[in-house]
C-alpha cells in the first residue's frame, strides 16, 4: 500500500514550457486535491476532484489544468510555465466516508526559470 505518490519529485522548466504532474493513490479515495505551498503562504488549493471524470477550481486555478480520467489518478498540467509557478506542489486524497483527514503525497518541487 503506497498511499499517495507523486511524479516527478523535482523538475526545472524554462518559461513557456509545459509539463504534467502525476498523482496516484491506491486507497480507492473519491476525493483528490492539488495544492501549492509557498513560503509564508501555507497550502493553497489549485484544483480538486470529487470523483472520476469531475474536476473543480480551487483558490488559485489560473495557469493550471487538471484531469481525472481514472479514479486513482489526478493529473495537474501547466500549459505555459511562468516563474510565479515556482513552488512545491502537493497532491492529497481523502475518502468519501469516515475520517475527514487528507492523505498527502511527498510533493514535487518545481522551479521555473
Amino acid at each position: 500500500n503506497a498511499g499517495v505518490t507523486q511524479t516527478p519529485k523535482f523538475r526545472v522548466l524554462k518559461t513557456g514550457q509545459s509539463m504534467t504532474l502525476l498523482c496516484a493513490q491506491d486507497m480507492n479515495h473519491e476525493y483528490m486535491y492539488w495544492y501549492r505551498q509557498d513560503p509564508g503562504m501555507g497550502l493553497r488549493l489549485i484544483h480538486y476532484s470529487v470523483g472520476e471524470g469531475t474536476t473543480a477550481k480551487g483558490e488559485v486555478p489560473d495557469g493550471y489544468n487538471v484531469s481525472r480520467l481514472k479514479k486513482q489518478n489526478f493529473l495537474l498540467g501547466l500549459e505555459s510555465a511562468a516563474p510565479s509557478q515556482t513552488s512545491v506542489y502537493f497532491c492529497a486524497s481523502r475518502a468519501l466516508a469516515g475520517g475527514h483527514e487528507q492523505f498527502f503525497g511527498p510533493g514535487t518541487r518545481l522551479t521555473v526559470l
Partner: protein, 112 residues
C-alpha cells in the same frame, strides 16, 4: 473572505519546554478543524476536531476546539527535538465540495 490564522509564525524552544500553538478561523459552513505536522515532506495528520471543549490527546500532544470563540490550540508537552516541524491548521467546510482552508503554519524548532 474565509481565513485561517495561525500564531505564532515561528517558535524556538528548548527540549522539555511546553508549547501552545494557536489557530483562529473565520470560515462559513464550518465542518471540522484539522491539525497536521509537516517535517521535510508531506503533512501528516494529527487531530480532527468537530465539537467544542472535547480534548483530543495523543501522547504528549493534545488539542481542543472552541467553536464559540472560533479557535483551536495544539499543546505539546515535554518537547523533543523530533517535534521540530511546521504545524498546519486546516478548516474543512460543509459546502458539499469538502474544501479545506489552511493556515500559514507555525514553524517550531526544539533545541537540544
Amino acid at each position: 473572505e474565509d481565513k485561517v490564522v495561525q500564531s505564532p509564525l515561528s517558535l524556538v524552544v528548548h527540549e522539555g519546554d511546553t508549547v501552545t500553538l494557536n489557530c483562529s478561523y473565520e470560515v462559513t459552513n464550518f465542518r471540522s478543524l484539522l491539525w497536521y505536522k509537516q517535517e521535510k515532506k508531506a503533512p501528516t495528520f494529527l487531530f480532527m476536531l468537530t465539537s467544542s471543549g472535547i480534548e483530543k490527546k495523543s501522547g504528549r500532544l493534545s488539542s481542543i476546539l472552541d467553536k464559540k470563540e472560533l479557535f483551536s490550540i495544539l499543546n505539546i508537552t515535554a518537547t523533543q527535538t523530533g517535534d521540530s516541524a511546521i504545524y498546519l491548521c486546516a478548516v474543512e467546510r460543509t459546502s458539499g465540495t469538502y474544501k479545506y482552508i489552511f493556515g500559514t503554519g507555525t514553524r517550531l524548532k526544539v533545541l537540544a
